[in-house]
Symmetry: C3
Subunit: 666 residues, 3 copies
Amino acid sequence: MFNFGVDYYPEQWPEERWTKDAELMAQAGFNVVRLAEFAWSRLEPEKGRFDFEWLDRAIALLAGYGMHIVLGTPTASPPPWLMAEHPEIFRVRSDGTRVTYGHRRGYCPNNLVYRDYSRAIVRKMAEHYSGNPAVVGWQIDNELGDRCYCPRCALAFHDWLRTRFGTLAVINDRWGTVFWSHIYTDWTQIPVPLTIGGPHNPGLALDYHRFCSDSYVDFMQIQNAILRQFCPDHFITHNFMGFVYDQINQFDLSRSLDFVSWDNYPQMQWNMKDAADPVKASLGHDTMRGLKRSPFWVIEQQAGPSGWEIVSPAPRPGQLRLWAYQAIAHGADGILFFRWRTAQAGVEQYWHGLLDHDGRPGRRYEEIRRMGGEIQIIGERLVGTKLKPQVAILLSYDSRFAFQIQANNPSFRYETEFLKLYRALQELKISVDIVSPEANLQDYKLVFAPTLHVLDGQAADNLSAYVSNGGVLVVTPRSGVKDEANRIVGCPLPGLLAELCGMEVSEYDSFPEGKTNSVRFTIPDLEGTSSPKVDIWADLLHPTCATVVAIYEHDYYAGSPAITLNHYGTGYALYMGVFGGQDLLLPVVRWLLQKAEIPLSFQGPTGVEILKRESDGRILIFILNHTGDGQAVDLPGVYWDLLHTSLIESPIHIGPYDVSILEQQG
Amino acid sequence: MFNFGVDYYPEQWPEERWTKDAELMAQAGFNVVRLAEFAWSRLEPEKGRFDFEWLDRAIALLAGYGMHIVLGTPTASPPPWLMAEHPEIFRVRSDGTRVTYGHRRGYCPNNLVYRDYSRAIVRKMAEHYSGNPAVVGWQIDNELGDRCYCPRCALAFHDWLRTRFGTLAVINDRWGTVFWSHIYTDWTQIPVPLTIGGPHNPGLALDYHRFCSDSYVDFMQIQNAILRQFCPDHFITHNFMGFVYDQINQFDLSRSLDFVSWDNYPQMQWNMKDAADPVKASLGHDTMRGLKRSPFWVIEQQAGPSGWEIVSPAPRPGQLRLWAYQAIAHGADGILFFRWRTAQAGVEQYWHGLLDHDGRPGRRYEEIRRMGGEIQIIGERLVGTKLKPQVAILLSYDSRFAFQIQANNPSFRYETEFLKLYRALQELKISVDIVSPEANLQDYKLVFAPTLHVLDGQAADNLSAYVSNGGVLVVTPRSGVKDEANRIVGCPLPGLLAELCGMEVSEYDSFPEGKTNSVRFTIPDLEGTSSPKVDIWADLLHPTCATVVAIYEHDYYAGSPAITLNHYGTGYALYMGVFGGQDLLLPVVRWLLQKAEIPLSFQGPTGVEILKRESDGRILIFILNHTGDGQAVDLPGVYWDLLHTSLIESPIHIGPYDVSILEQQG
Amino acid sequence: MFNFGVDYYPEQWPEERWTKDAELMAQAGFNVVRLAEFAWSRLEPEKGRFDFEWLDRAIALLAGYGMHIVLGTPTASPPPWLMAEHPEIFRVRSDGTRVTYGHRRGYCPNNLVYRDYSRAIVRKMAEHYSGNPAVVGWQIDNELGDRCYCPRCALAFHDWLRTRFGTLAVINDRWGTVFWSHIYTDWTQIPVPLTIGGPHNPGLALDYHRFCSDSYVDFMQIQNAILRQFCPDHFITHNFMGFVYDQINQFDLSRSLDFVSWDNYPQMQWNMKDAADPVKASLGHDTMRGLKRSPFWVIEQQAGPSGWEIVSPAPRPGQLRLWAYQAIAHGADGILFFRWRTAQAGVEQYWHGLLDHDGRPGRRYEEIRRMGGEIQIIGERLVGTKLKPQVAILLSYDSRFAFQIQANNPSFRYETEFLKLYRALQELKISVDIVSPEANLQDYKLVFAPTLHVLDGQAADNLSAYVSNGGVLVVTPRSGVKDEANRIVGCPLPGLLAELCGMEVSEYDSFPEGKTNSVRFTIPDLEGTSSPKVDIWADLLHPTCATVVAIYEHDYYAGSPAITLNHYGTGYALYMGVFGGQDLLLPVVRWLLQKAEIPLSFQGPTGVEILKRESDGRILIFILNHTGDGQAVDLPGVYWDLLHTSLIESPIHIGPYDVSILEQQG
């Protein structure tokens, strides 16, 4: 059974409406409903008094319509009675102001009182629902993120440091506190890095970011342990936020879960300036699949225009269904739409569900009901199939945190350069895994390590071993600059990667906004490529044993190497000393794919995704048309068109915002 | 007698200068002077010790020159001794920081200590001046506005809620607090909506805005009651801020006053980017006249360049006089210039008066002296004449407050769209009343209800009755969306107006910045109009019994109705599902004026205003040239030119920044 | 001996490296090293326990390589143990938030506890090193600046006011507190001007800025007195920040020092948008030389890319040496590069020293080593030579502070208009002194008084006497507007300068952004000059006895005088009622130079500086090529080229970013 469903808040609607809602859900082909997220006020109306009756009734009704139930633990938004009694629970922001009541996610994850209340409500829920046959799993809290800077966190930070590093002498050396006389002589002197005094020691700041990440991981782990104890047969997940959330190490957060879920709103990062970018949604999916290198759920899938104070553009006819299929194409084994009916009250009044405020089925409901019918036909073909990429990109939260502290260049953003690389691979219809620098890389023929700024010995060894054994590795500027303490290494850059790359950075030039240089390729394979522009940063390379691939064309370092390739063991390490756009990345990536012996299996226009899910003997091809125009794609061979239940051959025509799912024949 | 005068601060100048000032005032034709505003430090130099001697002397001197005196109560700026003793009086801003000493308007209107001190000073003044024959009236405080978020306001907010809604159950239901577990179980849990935690529940936020408004109304009412008791023969007014101030419901604030006054600085909203916009000043006047639907005063009329830290451009020769006549043309029965002489010290050093810092009469004084001479000639002709518009625009503070909380679209501003509509009517030289949605509309043939977002049953009934009885009503997007609790209605939009408009909004599309669509008119009356662009928002309309007036030309909803007209009772309701510029509004408004049988009496170039004040048997035409070039206007008939004391016929020539006041003959 | 050296932090590196560093320094030709700045944590590791052993060893080692030692007092960054015990020491920012630990410069200069601890460490250092023969001088603290708004400062401000003005009556009159009822009846009522309540009384605000400046001057003076007592043979300096720092009156701060030092980072004001501007560096040098009208040191000279969170562009080959010679050309008698080796840890990880993080000599070290060799050859020729400008620009901290409070026009910045004037003089290769309005001006033939906004009688008399005795003075808009209390004068503008300038400002017009006017010259000397644009502000001038030099061409004041010249005594006073660019300034300045009989001695392309240092019988010409292209300059006569040790005649060719130093022959 493919998990297909919706997020529902029965407590927000009159009970007499529930049956109508359940009927409409069943008609849409839904088989899973998430409940109880944000319902703490109704589950524990006053301290220690619990009320599950209304939820029992809702579950019973939905189960009667064949729905499986996922329960959310409600700790993302504590009730007023709790926060009014314990205002010390409120998070402190980086500017030193303490959050006040009225929104959500206002708690400090290290607060002991809050942890106690959280334990109590989760335990009561787990006890109550462990035996309910309709309940199949749990989602812990909601979209964990944020950083807290409260006095309780200061103490917890000191403990965290003491546990990891033992003595203040080690800390002082690690952070280099002799600079500006910051030598700590008592644990209590160590501050949290509030923004109101100026930039902080980069070592302290990076460790604080790590501590904050660990604090939320711990907070989740408390709930996880209780649920494991009482509900050993239920799955446990959490709703992540794709590639976007950057304050928690998501690899750590996912470790103890059964699978990763995430909340996919293609228009959410949308800034009222441009349309939803399907490549960003793809990156979200691949990031989520990479956390545990296994299938995931989209537990909140966009169901209409989103917005709090403002309303996003209406998704075009077909887009909601397309986006849901995009998730499946990238490896989702469950899709739940958020939310069922648009809230009439509360902050999310403009976060539209499948039904409008008036509760009547309309264009959006009908589109998803159509998809529900399709899923009932094709669902069994999907189950068990997976993506098997040969290319990986390394995602480093340490580096990401470090760039939050020191951007290196005002035009540089870790996420932007990461996305450019990913976009080049998308353009070439190459599937990608997003994995951690410590991951086992033996499944991949080509690995990108974009701006791997903070690098420890373990990751460096992992990369060397990978290349040594025949892999192709790509390193970009500002990699290997920092050790794990966020100190700059005392040897030539790229530090621990210098030997592997067979070169050193002799000098670098950080560009003013708008300034560019360009490079010229100097190897036969890339001859004839016009001179692509580069910007933001230039590393001037001194090859020790590497071959020069490209040189600079302008400025005092015209002629200096900009890109080098090193044959190391049985593999290759490419050092790119530059950042650039698709005119730089596409030829380089195409050449590297060739070098790594990865075929360009699919070709198609920009805006059309082509992906493959496969299992033993079954190959499914997804063709997703994100454009508003009809498109045609050439695919060799004969296919069974699952949605149109017919055999099909090239050219394959796909309407605007439409999708084809083809099963390869023979 | 037409009230013509100046705002004067004798306490800021050497007493030996007073006589010279009074002479110059008399030579300028002034007959009213406002005094004592901001003089608390001099009136009560220490707690409980009052000193009126200096003010008595100033009044006596000015009365000797024929001046009537208006006294300001000084509560807008309490003296240091009071605030130093009671720092809890200081207002708390929405970010949670408490204001500190050094500026003005720093007090919380709900603070009980401050209310006591305010009562004392006002009572002393009232007692002392009730019998002074020179004193004719009072201005309470100054430019009331702001919102306070202090703990005292939290308590007062709880009282306000308890009084209106009785129980927490009602509140929880009203605000839908079940969303995100915000169910309040004790009054003290209800927060004030500080900005430091994220967006608040829209119901709570709107009620807090209303509470803040009521708090200032109450604060004024305290002073009003004392003045009424001691000075029953004096008038009472307050200086409002035109259309601009948006934190107090000005209809409420004006209710107990004898008449509305306001402070008219055409360059004040000026952003150093463009010149003063005369249409904005007109909107200010019409808004002020509409509060009580009666004549008003401009109690502070711009007298020179304005500015605190920066200096505005110099008003061009003629503009100060022109702006003052513009006020009269829009219904002002009193004009006082702010201020007499420019302050040498204090925050308003660059807020120029009629005299410069050096006290010598210059260009600005001479210009107003000339006007004073004119007023002495024409003043009696003005008294008793009024504007009688046939068109009204509804101004809803509930909607305005609601859009402050949720803008719906980043490019949308209530004020901007309101102004566009008003500008179209100005362009057609149509006089307009600005009235509340609950106002009696029977005097109007055409009523605009722009973005009437928050709508209760009473206002909806008012509009239905108006149309039913033959009126023409115009409704624009996002109207009828919210009930009075700021919940989104559970029925099709435009909610309570859907039946009246004979249509429903089947879907909407919120535009990214810069995106446009266009509409095509589909009725014979508007045939030949080119396709005007629309932006920000598109309602897709489903007529139930309305006629389609225009359809969209682009996007997936090309061909869908964008504007509809419904014949309802003996009137018409037009629903505009779009926002647009003058190319959309001008043809629609022109057509509606025809439909409402309102003649286009006046025609003239853009930038030239033509208005009519009339009384039994007397019709005065004001022609105001806001351009820097000479202009000509055609008016049928023969007129007496009041300023040039001659008969005049078309074409009527008016110099740059000049004005003609014509009395219709026969 | 010319002082040539480096800033070194031995405590940040392993002691086994020190010898290698000292060797490399010696090879670079260095003879001075600054130490111990920011070393408080190592000098007083816990309260009252002092440790100088490590520093003694470092000094001994360096002295062995011939280095003279300058010691920094470490009070710019107190150790954690001190701040944790006394959090009341932390500065309060203007928004009312108190700084927290983690950066530097976090202390309040008025805090009594901090003053005690500062006294103790400085006294211990002074006692310990007074007899060390290697130590030659002291640098007090580091880059003093900032303003504090803490309660202790409030008390100190009251004392400061009481001392200067005696009674509250004087204060109230001075500030005009009758405006808005701010009459203070007790000293404790006087607030510090926090930004959270709105703009403050300009008189109070200016006095607070002066008080803040005096507070840092006092703080420095405490250390100065101790050092003078214990180390009477050592020099004392402080590292200023050129023209840029604007919160302390640098004339006051320099008064008790032996000489001024400063920290010259041509890329520091750099905004990632354009390259380092050599004219700004020149202005910094001339400002520093003007503080005491004597030679200065650059005690921190840029040694590589700078940056905290971001990295600046790499200085081009030759630029580091060029910038160092530029300092010498402008009168520096000492150059120390900041810093030796780039820090691997701490906030300044990206503030590059001569060596990179890896400690290997590279391009930058080699460039400065080359210069070190040159200095050894030419150093003795430099010693004793000085600049002797005939032109001065008056720098008024009172005016600068006043414009911080009220900018007058949103496009106006004191610094920008100052720089435009300075740039015109640079373009004409005219050397300039930057001096205070009270300075003795008899050495100058031409003096500019740009926007001398706050003007007291003493300075006005100084200027009158200067002109009276034959000087040429230039006054620009907004001069003479304020008295020394920041009140606007009660007489026609330019107030105390009106008689001297022979004119009055009859009216002024402050321009919206983007608006311009233009002027036409009306005197024969400037005939044929095209009409230069003017912007920001226009004074309309009424000559009483002055001659009209230029008139406006547009707007209602077309034809009105814009620039006038007054013959006063035996000199001239030019009043410029306008601001403009180089097309206005260059012809006016060229004409004035002629009038003042100052020859245009040097001519050369833009971007090439030509300066003269001279002593009895010796004239050195510096030609600095700030462009990336080779340039040629014509100089009459024969010269000895000091760097190439050869005779040379015109045309003199200079490579990109290169310098020539020529000694005039005969």
